[in-house]
Amino acid sequence: MSVAEAIFYLLGGLAIGSAVLAISAPNPVASLLFVVLAFFALAGLFVTLDAHFLAAIQILVYAGAILVLFLFVIMLLNLGSALPREWLAPPPVLILATAAGAAFLLVLFFVGYRGLSVAAPLPGALPAAAPAVSGTTEAVGLALFRDFLLPFEVTSLLLLVAMVGAVVLAKRER
């Protein structure tokens, strides 16, 4: 096992583990913190994929801003403890949901990764000749402002809408 692989498995295991804990922790705050942990692990994985800019964004924006917003809301609404009747869903639901999730993985694997045919090569081998790309801030920035100019501008509208929307929804009634 190479170092890269070791890092991958470590971070991957951390991401899955904290994600599982996040969705099973009764306390929302704990849940949230596990998600933050998972996002850190993901940021690490981004780094292993040479997506440095995104790794930073993942931590700064996603974990740092968005999830903190969640935390604010939890605190604001004083929801820092589990719902009265809930820890997790009742076992039958849990089993069924897990089964469905497993089924999803299975079909996704067979349809997507194996392409309905066992003999098909895995996508890992796909871009044999692909040049290595590096997600530096400069590269991503160039792509954003040149190739993806219009989408970038659209996000401005999107954020404005979200802002206005949040105000409309959350302000106290007259």
């Binding site: 069924l96 469905a100 999803f104 079909v107 067979f110 309905l116």
Partner: protein, 646 residues
Amino acid sequence: MLPYVWLVPALPLAGFLVNGLLGRRLGKGVVALVGPGVVGAAFALAVAIFLALLRLPAHERLYELDLFRWIPSGDLQITAGLQVDPLSTVMMLVVTGVGFLIHVYSVGYMREDPAFWRFFAYLNLFTFAMLVLVLANGFALMFVGWEGVGLCSYLLIGFWYEEKINCDAGKKAFVVNRVGDFAFLVGMFLIFERLGTLDFTDAFAAAPERLAMGGAAAFWIALLLFIGATGKSAQLPLHVWLPDAMQGPTPVSALIHAATMVTAGVYMIARAHVLYLLAPAALGIVAVVGALTALFAATIGLVQTDIKRVLAYSTISQLGYMFLGVGVAAFDTGIFHLVTHAFFKALLFLGAGRVIHALPHEQDMRKMGGLKAKLPVTFATMFVATLTISGIPPLAGFFSKDEILWAAWAAGRNALWVIGFVAAGLTALYMFRLLYLTFYGEPRARRLYDHAHEPPASMRIPLIILAVLSAVAGWIGITHAIGNPLGHVPNLLHEWLEPVFAGAEPLRAPATAETASLAAEYGLMAASVAVALLGIGLATYFYRRRPELPARIAATFPAAHRLLERKYYVDEIYGALVVRPYLALCAFCWRIVDEILIDGFVVKAVGGAVGFYSRVVARLQTGLVQNYAAAFFVGVVLLLGWYLLR
């Protein structure tokens, strides 16, 4: 003269329109003038046509008047037209002649009725329809008259429609007739299918070459038409409507249910004799049914107490004779009896009508008696008629009935002769019973008796004329066995009708020599007179000498008496086997098939299923987000999985 033949039916039609549309406003006087007037005029015209025809050579006595193309459709071309030949002329004369007398009689009989105008409208319409029937140039147009008379019969039986029993009787008549008409229609279809035409002349010309002698097609055509005739002419097994039809006003019974309409079947067979001669088996059935009907009805007539019902069964019986006549291929003889019967039976009915009229609306003979003194003219005329029907020479009935019996014998149908012979005796018996019960003895219901009075002249004169005709009409058809010794008195009717039936002569099976001997003819003649006298004697014994005897006999044989009294339970059998099962089946179709099977199991079930699944689908919509997400997710898995399973 002949081209004006269309006026013969047109006149009564005009009378119908005038009386029917304006009758209520015109008043009884005008109606009484118009109603009989048009028929009288038609009669006069008919006589003129008869004379015109007479002037022609015997074999040119055929006149066809095409009126208009009625139903042109592809190779079916039906032209409405009138056909005047000796046969239809005879019928035309009878219909208009007897019809006129009965119209006149009705003026008196119906005088008190508020719906006087309606009565004459119907009567005129009937005359029109009957004339269409007899003058029609083809089966289709004949069917118009055929059903038209049925309609008038229906309307007139139920003339006093406020009594349910009258309406029931009318309806029964119509429906039973329709059963016959159904067969008639099918017969017509078969004729068209085989012969390609419904025109009489064409059809009869084509028949010998297109229809195999004795073949199935000819048999079925003949049989189906005959079933039609059994309906109209009240033969077994479709006779049930006629006794009930006596609910109508008595002139109606006389005109429609005795003299004219009911004989239409006989006329039709005579008209279609070519077809019948091609189907000897069918003709045999006609004869057998006729003979059986004659006997069957006569036995019932023995015990009926309603004066008109006795006459009704008598009519059925006499019609049976006519069918026996035509059934043994003696078509002219059948027509002969038809003519004489028209006279004497009309007379009997009119007489009975006078009796009923005199005792307001009492028809039960057990409440009559001794009316001879009160109603002398009626009695006298009815007496003549009774003798005639009993077959006492030289009255008309003797000649015609005897000729039929002789024809049956001559055709080798001895069994049928025996039946007819017995029926002749019974006829004399029940007719004299009627006469005795009505006119002789002590009045059994004094109150009614006191009320009785002779009606007006308008009702008297037709009686007298008919009585005369009943007496002498037989002389137009004196059989050669009698005519020859008397100095070759010609058989006028036979000769007159000869051109009509002559064409079919080659089809006739040759009469066997030994049965056709003159000696036999005389012997049988004597026998039938004897049996008639025997019948009269028995009647006299039972109802004059020993009036208590019939009741004792009835008590001795209660089952037999009851059987006759209940008319062999035919109505009951029909009720149990046809009417009630039919209604039950109808109800079944409605309640079970329609409402439960189709509407319930299919329509409502589909609706119910839709409603059910609708509620199921709606209930799946629980309102819980996670259920929605789960459905979503399962959907995703299924969509992806679908490609694996494909």
